[in-house]
């Protein structure tokens, strides 16, 4: 069976499972049946895509189904790029299904989740496989709608209806932009097959328009600032394993769409494209993580951090565009590999972190970090896996987040080769923004972990929490192990990504497998090299050495006592640092500008027994400056037009007559 057929059979299986879930919806076994079946199907699709990526990737395989547009049919194709993203999708699908086997039992309304979960997975697979514009858009809409249904699974909870509404509006807007982009790509001849688009010549004007439309369409789905507003509302509203899929995987499908069109279909990139992408990526990375830093809800914090990582990926893609436009093939391959590596890494640790947040939610029923705390004692395994995710996402060695970040920095360091002045100056500045985003990410995840899992419990829910089931834990530990493996064996990943860079950019990074000790060397050893395995071994060795010496020669005495409170003992857990107070220094340094943040202290008069209060004022300037006016204008227009619904019959008739006359006039003048 050829690979694309295998993938399509898996998709058909997932769609069948969606129907089965409707049939079984009210039965007790449905959760176990559906999730174990999706686990099996995703695992098969995952193995198929990995085998294809590692094996013979030279020949892409096609499949034409006689559905879709009558003169075109529905084309599906498996090439190197698609197989990589299929791997990301199906790995996310498999781990989310495994997690769902345990987590799904706590679901209050399984019949609202189960049919849409496999459908959502099928939609994402189909988007990656589609090889003509019509099927692509159809599958894209299918994916959007399935995920929308999952966002609306708990539609009675406060805020979820609004989240679903905004998501729907933004998804429609994104699809509109994609529709126009593909319309431009198809050209006047109107050939919607990707193969035809690839060979067609695109005028610079059309190419620029397509790029902007792709940034609007795919960028809004991926969460590029300022089109990100739906993401922190919709991702957390879904059940946690779906949040993991939306954040870890669906944003990657959007990035796939961007890569497919801008790198593959459009042909040789232009410089202005790279400048726009670099700038948007840098702004997205910094803004995303600043938003995350201000957040108290753990799932929303994770969603905002997704925006940051999407920004990092777009910076890397922008670098690849800039190098490719100047014919610097090796540097372009480096930047592009870094982007793909970060795609993979982010899907690992973001899924892991959302699973952890879901476990906390199951155990305590709380998403507000200020009501949690001390969970490391109550949920030791979850807290360990979550810690791995936090270290990995904070780009710290020896985990995987650092490797992709390091590769991006190496690509940034290639920028002196660029002949253009604007880029020469812009790229280091964007590099500094990336470093800022990385440091803020570390701060943000110290906050997320410190407030949620460390300290003393801030409420009864956190005090009585229990460890979650084994399925959820095994899903988390598989991802944690992958985070470590990709961090210490990055050379294998880079080599596995080389068929994609060869297919897209016609160049590749040097072969890493021959380097001694499994180092990675992006350009030359004298320039830079990194060895995650040795760093890991050295840290382990020197830590064990220290432990050995301490236990051999130092005192073993250990006494438990109350914490030092400066003379005050028995302080309440509420006196601990909270999420808001932890963010205070950064809020003060960056927030006064970015969020117009103000602290208001309400101090009671002397003698008054009321408590003093500290109120924090934050403004989401993008929402207030961009979306609120648009929403206001639409609301205003609707209010005015509402008047037209209550006219007398005479006025309606005259309105119709006036319209007719106007249209005829227009027609007369036009022709």
């Amino acid at each position: 069976m050829s690979s694309v057929v295998l993938q399509m059979v898996c998709v058909a299986g997932l769609l069948g499972l969606a129907i089965l879930a409707i049939v079984l919806s009210r039965s007790k076994i449905s959760t176990a049946v559906i999730y174990s079946a999706t686990l099996a199907v995703s695992a098969i699709a995952l193995i198929g895509s990995i085998r294809w990526l590692l094996g013979d990737t030279a020949n892409a395989t096609d499949l034409m189904l006689p559905i879709g547009l009558p003169w075109l049919g529905a084309h599906f194709r498996l090439d190197a790029l698609a197989s990589f993203f299929l791997m990301v999708v199906n790995l996310g699908g498999a781990t989310a299904s495994l997690y769902g086997l345990g987590y799904g039992h706590h679901e209050p309304a399984p019949h609202r989740v189960l049919p849409f979960f496999p459908a959502f997975l099928a939609g994402m697979n189909l988007v990656v496989l589609a090889d003509d514009a019509f099927s692509y858009l159809l599958c894209w809409e299918f994916m959007s709608l399935a995920s929308w249904a999952l966002v609306m699974a708990h539609h009675r909870e406060t805020g979820n209806a609004k989240a679903g509404y905004i998501y729907l509006v933004m998804a429609s807007f994104g699809t509109l932009a994609l529709l126009l982009a593909f319309g431009l790509l198809a050209g006047p001849a109107g050939d919607y097959g990707f193969a035809a688009i690839r060979v067609a010549q695109h005028t610079p004007y059309a190419a620029a328009l397509v790029l902007i439309l792709m940034l609007l369409g795919a960028g809004s789905k991926a969460g590029l600032v300022p089109l990100h507003v739906w993401l922190p509302l919709a991702h957390p509203a879904a059940p946690s394993h779906v949040s993991a899929l939306m954040s870890g995987v669906m944003t990657k499908v959007a990035i796939y769409g961007f890569i497919r069109v801008v790198f593959d279909l459009l042909g040789q990139p232009t410089l202005s494209a790279s400048v726009i992408v670099l700038f948007l990526g840098g702004v997205t990375a910094v803004m995303g993580i600043l938003y995350a830093m201000m957040e108290n809800d753990i799932k929303r914090l994770l969603a905002y951090s997704t925006i940051e990582n999407v920004g990092v990926i777009f910076v890397s893609l922008g670098l690849a565009l800039a190098f490719q436009a100047n014919g610097l093939r090796l540097a372009a391959a480096l930047a592009f590999t870094a982007a793909l590596f970060h795609v993979l890494n982010h899907s690992f640790f973001k899924s892991l972190l959302f699973f952890g947040a879901g476990a906390v939610l199951t155990a305590t029923g709380e998403r507000d970090m200020d009501k949690l705390g001390g969970l490391i004692h109550r949920m030791p395994f979850t807290s360990f896996a979550f810690l791995v995710g936090c270290v990995a996402i904070s780009a710290l060695p020896p985990f995987n987040g650092f490797v992709s970040e390091w590769l991006i920095f190496q690509a940034v360091l290639q920028s002196p080769e660029l002949p253009q002045w604007a880029l020469k100056i812009m790229v280091p500045a964007v590099g500094a923004m990336l470093a800022l985003a990385a440091a803020l990410a570390a701060a943000c995840f110290v906050k997320a972990y410190g407030v949620t899992f460390l300290g003393r419990p801030r409420g009864p829910a956190a005090e009585t929490a229990h460890e979650v089931d084994r399925y959820s834990l095994s899903a988390m530990f598989i991802l944690a192990a992958l985070c470590l493996l990709a961090g210490i064996l990055p050379g294998l990943v880079i080599d596995a990504l080389s068929p994609i860079t060869i297919a897209i950019l016609d160049s590749r990074m040097p072969i890493q497998a021959n380097e001694p000790w499994l180092s990675i060397v992006p350009i030359a050893e004298s320039r830079s090299s990194y060895n995650g395995l040795l760093v890991m071994v050295f840290i382990t060795l020197s830590a064990s050495l220290a432990v050995f010496f301490i236990h051999r020669f130092a005192s073993h005495a250990l006494r438990r006592g109350p914490a030092w409170g400066c003379g005050f003992s028995d302080s309440t857990p509420a006196a601990q640092y909270s999420a808001e107070s932890f963010a205070q220094p950064i809020r003060r340094v960056f927030g006064t500008l970015v969020f117009h943040a103000r602290d208001h202290v309400e101090m009671p008069a002397p003698g008054d027994t009321q408590p003093a209060r500290l109120r924090i004022e934050l403004h989401d300037l993008i929402w207030e400056g961009m979306y609120a006016p648009i929403a206001g204008a639409i609301g205003f227009a609707a209010d005015r037009l509402n008047y037209l619904q209550f006219l007398t019959i005479r006025r309606y008739l005259s309105l119709v007559f006036a319209t007719l006359v106007t249209l005829l006039l227009v027609l007369a003048i036009w022709s």
Binding site: I376, H377, V391, A395, L396, P397, F402, W406, F409, V412, L413, P416, W421, K424, P428, A432, M433, L434, A435, L436, A439, A442, V446, K447, Y449, G450, L454, G455, E525, S526, R527, S528, S529, Y530, N531, V535, F538, I539, S542, A543, A546, I550, A554, S555, L558, R559, R560, G561, A563, W564, G565, C566, A575, Y577, F582, A583, P585, I586, R588, V589
Partner: protein, 318 residues
């Protein structure tokens, strides 16, 4: 045979940094005391402090978790590995290619990440205040550090410290304005990273003014010894870094034999002493700044790094 001697030289460097680090801190303290017209403790006092801490019992807060107990070792190991990868007396050591400067900075970031978490673990306000301010300082220092790396990599064409040191030691580098800016920026970042005056005061005893010390307030006994040792090592690391990149005078090139190693080691000791002396002089002459002045201080470092980079673009001769 070659491999064995390679490992030997690398091992000597690892031991050397370990043995010298407390001495350097003791030396700085001694000079500071002399500048204040005190006699001051012996330069060997930090060793005695470490031994004393090792012999004492650990008083652990009641709800301290395993993370709190593991952190001192993780932090120490990460800093030690980072310190062992910076060339001190010789370049081209066996494992220098394991990590370049970006990775070394990130290793220190790992150490800080765990320390900040440990500060949050016990659940007191002091730990929280220390952690939150420490991560703020790190968030400001890291972009500045990257621009310094960038500036340096533009001149030397590498982020690999051995290559950079060899390049800077060669005669045709000369004096450059942008390198001057980079070295000032790097010193500012180093002051912030090591919690020295004017960013933080390592000798403070008032909890509310502390950043780094507040974060590790709950530590005692052998755990505190590891953390203190880590801090000593970090100071040594930054001085070695500045010395090897901007002052690679007499640094031995790998494989040139024991004599040049000895000369390199001697030169290294002189550099350490000079840096320690100037650090003490600077700390005595300046006052600690308010916490929310630190952004301006580190912002200046960032701007210097950016300016240095831009100057390099404008003219190759700067």
């Amino acid at each position: 045979m070659v491999v064995i001697s390679d490992i030997l030289v690398q091992g000597v460097q690892m031991l050397l940094v370990l043995l010298l680090a407390p001495l350097l801190t003791g030396f700085v303290r001694k000079i500071k005391a002399r500048l204040l017209r005190r006699r001051g403790a012996s330069v060997f006092q930090p060793y005695r402090d470490l031994l004393r801490l090792l012999r004492k019992e650990v008083v652990l807060a009641e709800n301290a978790s395993w993370l709190f107990r593991v952190t001192p070792y993780v932090t120490f190991a990460a800093i030690w590995v980072a310190a062992a990868l910076v060339p001190t007396f010789a370049t081209g050591l066996l494992f220098n290619w394991t990590a370049d400067l970006i990775a070394i900075v990130a290793l220190l970031g790992s150490a800080r990440f765990f320390l900040a978490l440990a500060g949050m673990d016990v659940g007191t306000s002091f730990g929280g205040i220390g952690s939150s301010r420490e991560v703020m300082i790190a968030a400001l220092a890291e972009p500045a550090m990257l621009l310094i790396v960038f500036c340096m990599a533009l001149v030397a064409g590498s982020t690999q410290l051995s290559t950079v040191a060899n390049f800077m030691a060669s005669s045709y580098v000369g004096l450059r304005v942008s390198l001057g800016m980079a070295v000032i920026a790097l010193i500012m970042v180093a002051l912030a990273e090591n919690a020295r005056i004017p960013v933080d005061n390592p000798a403070t005893h008032l909890e509310l003014t502390m950043v780094h010390e507040a974060m590790v307030l709950e530590y005692s006994g052998r755990h505190l010894a590891m953390i203190e040792f880590g801090a000593f090592l970090k100071l040594l690391l930054y001085i070695s870094l500045i010395a090897c990149v901007f002052l690679p005078w007499k640094i031995a090139v790998f494989g040139t034999g024991p004599l040049s190693y000895a000369v390199g080691a001697g030169a290294y000791l002189v550099k350490l002493a000079a840096a320690g002396f100037f650090l003490a002089l600077f700390e005595t002459a300046t006052a600690k700044m308010r916490v929310f002045r630190i952004p301006q201080f580190l912002g200046a470092a960032l701007m210097l790094g950016l300016l240095g980079t831009l100057l390099l673009f404008v003219s190759r001769s700067f």
